[in-house]
Protein backbone atom coordinates (compact mmCIF):
# COMPACT_ATOMS: atom_id res chain seq x y z
CA UNK A 1 0.00 0.00 0.00
CA UNK A 2 2.82 2.34 0.75
CA UNK A 3 4.30 1.70 -2.69
CA UNK A 4 1.04 2.57 -4.33
CA UNK A 5 0.76 5.86 -2.48
CA UNK A 6 4.29 6.80 -3.57
CA UNK A 7 3.38 5.93 -7.14
CA UNK A 8 0.19 7.93 -6.95
CA UNK A 9 2.21 10.90 -5.86
CA UNK A 10 4.98 10.26 -8.39
CA UNK A 11 2.80 9.95 -11.48
CA UNK A 12 1.32 13.45 -11.35
CA UNK A 13 4.75 14.85 -10.59
CA UNK A 14 6.23 13.07 -13.62
CA UNK A 15 3.36 14.21 -15.78
CA UNK A 16 3.87 17.78 -14.70
CA UNK A 17 7.58 17.47 -15.55
CA UNK A 18 6.90 15.93 -18.97
CA UNK A 19 4.27 18.47 -19.92
CA UNK A 20 6.28 21.35 -18.61
CA UNK A 21 9.41 20.55 -20.62
CA UNK A 22 8.24 21.63 -24.09
CA UNK A 23 6.32 24.53 -22.69
CA UNK A 24 9.25 25.94 -20.73
CA UNK A 25 10.50 28.76 -22.94
CA UNK A 26 10.59 28.70 -26.80
CA UNK A 27 12.04 25.22 -27.00
CA UNK A 28 15.49 23.97 -26.21
CA UNK A 29 16.49 24.29 -29.83
CA UNK A 30 16.06 27.75 -31.32
CA UNK A 31 14.01 27.78 -34.49
CA UNK A 32 15.17 29.27 -37.77
CA UNK A 33 14.87 32.98 -38.29
CA UNK A 34 12.24 33.41 -40.98
CA UNK A 35 12.53 36.90 -42.30
CA UNK A 36 9.26 38.49 -43.37
CA UNK A 37 8.71 38.98 -47.10
CA UNK A 38 10.12 42.19 -48.50
CA UNK A 39 6.90 42.92 -50.28
CA UNK A 40 3.39 41.57 -50.16
CA UNK A 41 1.78 39.44 -47.49
CA UNK A 42 0.46 36.65 -49.68
CA UNK A 43 2.73 33.98 -51.14
CA UNK A 44 1.95 32.18 -54.41
CA UNK A 45 0.70 29.16 -52.44
CA UNK A 46 -0.36 28.65 -48.82
CA UNK A 47 2.50 28.77 -46.36
CA UNK A 48 2.26 25.12 -45.30
CA UNK A 49 2.18 24.02 -48.95
CA UNK A 50 5.20 26.15 -49.73
CA UNK A 51 7.11 24.79 -46.75
CA UNK A 52 6.66 21.20 -47.86
CA UNK A 53 6.61 21.48 -51.62
CA UNK A 54 8.54 24.56 -52.77
CA UNK A 55 11.33 22.35 -54.07
CA UNK A 56 8.90 20.40 -56.23
CA UNK A 57 7.44 23.59 -57.68
CA UNK A 58 10.88 24.96 -58.40
CA UNK A 59 12.12 21.79 -60.04
CA UNK A 60 9.06 21.57 -62.25
CA UNK A 61 9.31 25.21 -63.21
CA UNK A 62 13.02 24.97 -63.96
CA UNK A 63 12.44 22.34 -66.65
CA UNK A 64 9.51 24.23 -68.11
CA UNK A 65 11.58 27.40 -68.35
CA UNK A 66 14.79 25.81 -69.55
CA UNK A 67 13.39 23.52 -72.21
CA UNK A 68 10.07 25.06 -73.21
CA UNK A 69 10.72 28.73 -72.61
CA UNK A 70 7.80 29.12 -70.22
CA UNK A 71 8.57 32.06 -67.99
CA UNK A 72 5.55 32.42 -65.74
CA UNK A 73 6.42 33.98 -62.43
CA UNK A 74 4.30 31.95 -60.05
CA UNK A 75 6.87 29.25 -59.26
CA UNK A 76 10.04 30.84 -60.56
CA UNK A 77 13.09 31.14 -58.35
CA UNK A 78 13.65 34.67 -59.54
CA UNK A 79 10.20 35.67 -58.38
CA UNK A 80 10.87 34.02 -54.98
CA UNK A 81 13.92 36.20 -54.53
CA UNK A 82 12.14 39.33 -55.71
CA UNK A 83 9.63 39.01 -52.88
CA UNK A 84 11.73 37.43 -50.15
CA UNK A 85 15.21 38.86 -50.49
CA UNK A 86 16.46 42.42 -50.66
CA UNK A 87 19.14 43.31 -53.22
CA UNK A 88 21.60 43.74 -50.34
CA UNK A 89 21.30 40.24 -48.89
CA UNK A 90 23.69 37.68 -50.33
CA UNK A 91 23.45 33.95 -49.73
CA UNK A 92 27.20 33.63 -49.48
CA UNK A 93 27.57 36.50 -47.04
CA UNK A 94 28.31 36.14 -43.34
CA UNK A 95 25.03 37.63 -42.23
CA UNK A 96 22.98 35.13 -40.26
CA UNK A 97 19.92 37.32 -40.15
CA UNK A 98 19.28 38.06 -43.75
CA UNK A 99 18.72 35.58 -46.50
CA UNK A 100 15.29 33.98 -46.44
CA UNK A 101 16.39 30.74 -48.13
CA UNK A 102 19.70 30.45 -46.31
CA UNK A 103 18.26 30.76 -42.82
CA UNK A 104 16.00 27.73 -43.15
CA UNK A 105 18.37 25.63 -45.22
CA UNK A 106 21.12 26.05 -42.69
CA UNK A 107 18.74 25.26 -39.86
CA UNK A 108 17.51 22.11 -41.57
CA UNK A 109 21.04 21.20 -42.72
CA UNK A 110 19.88 21.11 -46.33
CA UNK A 111 22.64 21.48 -48.87
CA UNK A 112 21.09 22.86 -52.02
CA UNK A 113 22.77 23.71 -55.27
CA UNK A 114 20.52 26.56 -56.43
CA UNK A 115 22.82 29.32 -55.30
CA UNK A 116 26.04 27.86 -56.61
CA UNK A 117 24.83 29.16 -59.96
CA UNK A 118 21.75 31.30 -59.41
CA UNK A 119 21.88 34.89 -58.31
CA UNK A 120 21.24 35.02 -54.58
CA UNK A 121 19.52 38.39 -54.58
CA UNK A 122 17.44 40.47 -56.97
CA UNK A 123 19.15 43.28 -58.83
CA UNK A 124 18.48 46.96 -58.77
CA UNK A 125 18.37 48.70 -62.11
CA UNK A 126 19.99 52.06 -62.81
CA UNK A 127 16.99 53.84 -61.35
CA UNK A 128 17.46 51.91 -58.11
CA UNK A 129 14.38 49.77 -58.60
CA UNK A 130 14.25 46.07 -57.92
CA UNK A 131 13.49 43.97 -60.99
CA UNK A 132 9.77 43.49 -61.40
CA UNK A 133 9.01 46.59 -59.38
CA UNK A 134 7.06 49.33 -61.10
CA UNK A 135 8.38 52.84 -61.39
CA UNK A 136 6.51 55.92 -60.27
CA UNK A 137 5.19 56.63 -63.76
CA UNK A 138 3.88 53.11 -64.26
CA UNK A 139 2.23 53.12 -60.85
CA UNK A 140 0.49 56.40 -61.66
CA UNK A 141 -0.61 55.05 -65.04
CA UNK A 142 -2.03 51.90 -63.45
CA UNK A 143 -3.94 53.84 -60.83
CA UNK A 144 -5.23 56.11 -63.59
CA UNK A 145 -6.38 53.11 -65.63
CA UNK A 146 -8.03 51.56 -62.60
CA UNK A 147 -10.31 54.56 -62.25
CA UNK A 148 -13.80 54.16 -63.72
CA UNK A 149 -13.94 55.54 -67.25
CA UNK A 150 -15.81 58.80 -67.47
CA UNK A 151 -15.27 60.47 -70.84
CA UNK A 152 -15.28 57.64 -73.38
CA UNK A 153 -17.82 59.37 -75.64
CA UNK A 154 -15.30 61.67 -77.25
CA UNK A 155 -14.22 59.06 -79.83
CA UNK A 156 -17.02 59.74 -82.30
CA UNK A 157 -16.24 60.62 -85.88
Amino acid sequence: MKQLSILSRLVPALLVLLLAAPASGDGRVPGPVVSPAVKGDQCVEDTDVMRRRHMDFLKHQRDETMHRGIRTEQHSLKACLTCHVTPEQAYHGDSQEGHFCKNCHEYAAVKIDCFECHATQPERDQAGRVQGELGEGATRLLSHLARPETNETGASE
Partner: protein, 249 residues
Protein backbone atom coordinates in the same frame (compact mmCIF):
# COMPACT_ATOMS: atom_id res chain seq x y z
CA UNK B 1 -30.00 56.53 -85.31
CA UNK B 2 -26.69 58.24 -84.95
CA UNK B 3 -23.77 57.15 -87.10
CA UNK B 4 -21.42 57.29 -84.13
CA UNK B 5 -19.07 54.32 -84.06
CA UNK B 6 -18.28 52.40 -80.95
CA UNK B 7 -14.98 53.70 -79.58
CA UNK B 8 -13.46 50.23 -79.87
CA UNK B 9 -14.17 49.95 -83.59
CA UNK B 10 -12.58 53.35 -84.20
CA UNK B 11 -9.48 52.13 -82.39
CA UNK B 12 -9.43 48.95 -84.39
CA UNK B 13 -9.55 50.84 -87.66
CA UNK B 14 -6.74 53.07 -86.57
CA UNK B 15 -4.63 50.03 -85.72
CA UNK B 16 -5.44 48.45 -89.08
CA UNK B 17 -4.34 51.55 -90.94
CA UNK B 18 -1.18 51.64 -88.87
CA UNK B 19 -0.41 48.00 -89.64
CA UNK B 20 -0.90 48.52 -93.35
CA UNK B 21 1.68 51.28 -93.45
CA UNK B 22 4.17 49.70 -91.04
CA UNK B 23 6.34 48.32 -93.85
CA UNK B 24 9.70 50.01 -93.92
CA UNK B 25 12.15 49.94 -96.82
CA UNK B 26 15.58 48.94 -95.50
CA UNK B 27 17.33 48.57 -98.82
CA UNK B 28 16.23 48.05 -102.41
CA UNK B 29 14.07 44.96 -102.42
CA UNK B 30 14.27 44.50 -98.64
CA UNK B 31 11.19 45.52 -96.73
CA UNK B 32 10.62 45.28 -93.04
CA UNK B 33 7.06 44.65 -91.95
CA UNK B 34 5.60 44.59 -88.47
CA UNK B 35 7.26 42.65 -85.69
CA UNK B 36 6.13 39.05 -85.30
CA UNK B 37 3.51 38.42 -82.67
CA UNK B 38 5.01 38.10 -79.22
CA UNK B 39 4.58 34.93 -77.24
CA UNK B 40 3.03 35.19 -73.80
CA UNK B 41 4.98 33.97 -70.77
CA UNK B 42 2.95 30.76 -70.37
CA UNK B 43 3.21 29.65 -73.99
CA UNK B 44 5.95 27.15 -74.86
CA UNK B 45 8.34 27.91 -77.71
CA UNK B 46 7.48 26.28 -81.02
CA UNK B 47 9.37 25.32 -84.13
CA UNK B 48 7.26 27.79 -86.11
CA UNK B 49 9.98 30.27 -85.17
CA UNK B 50 13.67 29.86 -85.87
CA UNK B 51 15.80 32.55 -84.34
CA UNK B 52 18.89 33.49 -86.25
CA UNK B 53 21.46 36.18 -86.82
CA UNK B 54 22.95 37.61 -89.96
CA UNK B 55 26.32 39.29 -89.52
CA UNK B 56 27.53 41.74 -92.13
CA UNK B 57 31.31 41.55 -91.87
CA UNK B 58 31.78 44.61 -94.06
CA UNK B 59 30.20 46.67 -91.29
CA UNK B 60 32.08 44.97 -88.47
CA UNK B 61 35.03 47.21 -87.60
CA UNK B 62 38.50 46.01 -86.86
CA UNK B 63 39.27 46.43 -83.18
CA UNK B 64 35.68 47.19 -82.15
CA UNK B 65 34.56 44.97 -79.30
CA UNK B 66 31.26 46.60 -78.37
CA UNK B 67 29.36 43.33 -78.83
CA UNK B 68 31.73 41.42 -76.57
CA UNK B 69 31.58 44.03 -73.83
CA UNK B 70 27.79 44.11 -74.03
CA UNK B 71 27.69 40.31 -73.86
CA UNK B 72 29.91 40.22 -70.78
CA UNK B 73 27.84 42.86 -69.03
CA UNK B 74 24.54 41.22 -69.92
CA UNK B 75 25.56 37.70 -68.97
CA UNK B 76 27.74 38.60 -65.99
CA UNK B 77 30.97 37.22 -67.45
CA UNK B 78 34.55 38.17 -66.81
CA UNK B 79 34.74 37.83 -63.03
CA UNK B 80 36.86 34.70 -63.03
CA UNK B 81 40.02 35.52 -61.16
CA UNK B 82 41.96 32.29 -60.71
CA UNK B 83 42.11 30.63 -64.10
CA UNK B 84 44.56 31.19 -66.91
CA UNK B 85 43.58 33.82 -69.45
CA UNK B 86 42.95 31.13 -72.04
CA UNK B 87 40.36 29.52 -69.78
CA UNK B 88 38.23 32.60 -69.33
CA UNK B 89 34.65 32.23 -70.40
CA UNK B 90 33.87 33.83 -73.71
CA UNK B 91 30.46 33.60 -75.29
CA UNK B 92 31.70 35.74 -78.21
CA UNK B 93 35.10 36.45 -79.62
CA UNK B 94 36.37 38.54 -82.50
CA UNK B 95 38.12 36.70 -85.29
CA UNK B 96 40.27 38.39 -87.91
CA UNK B 97 40.59 36.81 -91.31
CA UNK B 98 43.32 37.89 -93.70
CA UNK B 99 43.28 36.98 -97.33
CA UNK B 100 46.90 36.12 -98.11
CA UNK B 101 46.53 36.88 -101.80
CA UNK B 102 44.91 40.28 -101.52
CA UNK B 103 45.80 41.29 -97.97
CA UNK B 104 42.15 42.13 -97.24
CA UNK B 105 41.31 41.81 -93.55
CA UNK B 106 37.87 40.86 -92.30
CA UNK B 107 36.82 41.13 -88.70
CA UNK B 108 33.85 39.20 -87.43
CA UNK B 109 32.31 38.03 -84.19
CA UNK B 110 32.25 34.27 -83.66
CA UNK B 111 29.99 32.58 -81.16
CA UNK B 112 27.63 29.63 -80.87
CA UNK B 113 26.19 29.27 -84.36
CA UNK B 114 22.95 27.72 -83.07
CA UNK B 115 23.07 24.83 -85.52
CA UNK B 116 19.99 23.04 -86.73
CA UNK B 117 21.91 19.79 -86.18
CA UNK B 118 24.11 20.71 -83.23
CA UNK B 119 27.04 18.31 -82.71
CA UNK B 120 27.25 19.37 -79.05
CA UNK B 121 23.78 17.98 -78.47
CA UNK B 122 24.65 14.83 -80.42
CA UNK B 123 27.54 13.94 -78.16
CA UNK B 124 26.12 15.09 -74.83
CA UNK B 125 25.82 12.02 -72.59
CA UNK B 126 23.16 13.51 -70.30
CA UNK B 127 20.99 15.57 -72.63
CA UNK B 128 22.19 18.80 -71.07
CA UNK B 129 23.14 20.24 -74.46
CA UNK B 130 19.98 20.61 -76.44
CA UNK B 131 18.29 22.67 -79.10
CA UNK B 132 15.14 24.44 -78.11
CA UNK B 133 12.18 24.19 -80.46
CA UNK B 134 12.84 27.72 -81.73
CA UNK B 135 16.41 26.86 -82.73
CA UNK B 136 18.36 28.27 -79.78
CA UNK B 137 21.04 25.84 -78.59
CA UNK B 138 21.42 25.81 -74.82
CA UNK B 139 23.13 23.98 -71.97
CA UNK B 140 20.81 22.82 -69.21
CA UNK B 141 23.26 23.31 -66.37
CA UNK B 142 20.98 21.44 -64.00
CA UNK B 143 21.98 18.22 -65.74
CA UNK B 144 25.40 19.14 -67.18
CA UNK B 145 28.06 16.95 -65.59
CA UNK B 146 30.96 18.98 -66.92
CA UNK B 147 32.48 16.28 -69.12
CA UNK B 148 33.31 18.84 -71.83
CA UNK B 149 32.62 16.42 -74.65
CA UNK B 150 30.54 19.15 -76.33
CA UNK B 151 33.53 21.49 -76.29
CA UNK B 152 35.47 18.91 -78.26
CA UNK B 153 32.59 18.37 -80.68
CA UNK B 154 31.87 22.03 -81.46
CA UNK B 155 33.62 23.01 -84.71
CA UNK B 156 33.26 26.71 -83.85
CA UNK B 157 35.11 26.56 -80.51
CA UNK B 158 32.11 28.33 -79.07
CA UNK B 159 31.95 26.78 -75.62
CA UNK B 160 33.68 27.52 -72.34
CA UNK B 161 33.99 25.68 -69.07
CA UNK B 162 33.70 27.32 -65.68
CA UNK B 163 36.71 26.28 -63.61
CA UNK B 164 36.12 28.16 -60.41
CA UNK B 165 33.48 29.04 -57.87
CA UNK B 166 31.52 32.09 -58.95
CA UNK B 167 29.42 34.57 -57.04
CA UNK B 168 27.40 37.63 -58.04
CA UNK B 169 25.84 36.03 -61.10
CA UNK B 170 23.21 37.93 -63.05
CA UNK B 171 19.67 36.74 -62.26
CA UNK B 172 19.00 35.96 -65.91
CA UNK B 173 22.13 33.91 -66.49
CA UNK B 174 22.79 31.43 -63.69
CA UNK B 175 26.27 29.98 -64.13
CA UNK B 176 28.64 28.09 -61.92
CA UNK B 177 31.65 25.90 -61.48
CA UNK B 178 31.75 22.59 -63.28
CA UNK B 179 29.43 23.41 -66.14
CA UNK B 180 29.93 24.17 -69.81
CA UNK B 181 28.35 27.31 -71.18
CA UNK B 182 28.08 29.27 -74.39
CA UNK B 183 26.15 32.01 -76.16
CA UNK B 184 22.46 31.50 -75.42
CA UNK B 185 21.31 34.18 -77.86
CA UNK B 186 20.24 36.16 -74.78
CA UNK B 187 17.33 33.77 -74.47
CA UNK B 188 15.85 35.70 -71.53
CA UNK B 189 15.64 38.83 -73.68
CA UNK B 190 14.32 36.95 -76.69
CA UNK B 191 11.61 35.31 -74.58
CA UNK B 192 10.58 38.76 -73.41
CA UNK B 193 10.30 39.96 -77.01
CA UNK B 194 13.69 41.69 -77.10
CA UNK B 195 16.89 41.28 -79.06
CA UNK B 196 20.28 39.98 -77.90
CA UNK B 197 22.62 42.41 -76.14
CA UNK B 198 25.30 42.21 -78.86
CA UNK B 199 22.82 43.24 -81.54
CA UNK B 200 21.77 46.25 -79.50
CA UNK B 201 25.35 47.25 -78.72
CA UNK B 202 26.38 46.99 -82.36
CA UNK B 203 23.48 49.19 -83.39
CA UNK B 204 24.30 51.65 -80.61
CA UNK B 205 27.82 51.95 -82.05
CA UNK B 206 26.19 52.87 -85.35
CA UNK B 207 27.51 49.76 -87.10
CA UNK B 208 24.31 47.74 -87.44
CA UNK B 209 26.39 44.74 -88.45
CA UNK B 210 24.17 42.14 -86.74
CA UNK B 211 20.58 41.51 -87.72
CA UNK B 212 18.57 39.32 -85.40
CA UNK B 213 15.22 37.79 -86.21
CA UNK B 214 13.02 34.87 -87.16
CA UNK B 215 14.37 33.03 -90.19
CA UNK B 216 11.02 31.27 -90.62
CA UNK B 217 9.05 34.49 -90.91
CA UNK B 218 9.22 35.53 -94.60
CA UNK B 219 8.42 39.14 -93.72
CA UNK B 220 11.21 39.53 -91.14
CA UNK B 221 14.24 41.61 -91.99
CA UNK B 222 16.65 38.71 -91.60
CA UNK B 223 14.60 36.41 -93.86
CA UNK B 224 14.36 39.14 -96.46
CA UNK B 225 18.09 39.72 -96.35
CA UNK B 226 19.14 36.08 -96.59
CA UNK B 227 16.71 35.72 -99.47
CA UNK B 228 18.01 38.78 -101.30
CA UNK B 229 21.75 38.69 -100.65
CA UNK B 230 24.26 35.87 -100.69
CA UNK B 231 25.20 34.78 -97.18
CA UNK B 232 27.68 32.25 -95.91
CA UNK B 233 27.54 29.55 -93.27
CA UNK B 234 30.86 28.98 -91.58
CA UNK B 235 31.93 25.39 -92.25
CA UNK B 236 28.91 24.77 -94.44
CA UNK B 237 30.59 21.52 -95.47
CA UNK B 238 29.63 20.01 -92.12
CA UNK B 239 25.93 20.26 -92.93
CA UNK B 240 25.01 21.70 -89.55
CA UNK B 241 22.86 24.51 -90.97
CA UNK B 242 23.80 27.21 -88.44
CA UNK B 243 21.27 29.84 -87.46
CA UNK B 244 24.07 32.42 -87.54
CA UNK B 245 25.07 33.43 -91.06
CA UNK B 246 27.60 35.88 -92.42
CA UNK B 247 27.74 38.17 -95.43
CA UNK B 248 30.88 39.68 -96.88
CA UNK B 249 33.27 36.78 -96.27
Amino acid sequence: MSERKHPDSARREFLKKGAATAGLALAPGVMLYGVAQARTADEPVTSAVRWGMLIDTTRCANGCDACIRACEAEQGLGDETHGRAGQRTQYMRKVELRNKATGAIHSLPMMCQHCENPPCADVCPTGASFKRADGIVLVDRHICIGCRYCMMACPYKARSFVHETLTEQRPDNPRGKGCVESCNMCVHRVDAGGTPACVEACAAEGKHAIVFGDLNDPSSEIAQRVKTYASTQVRADLGLNPGVRYTGI
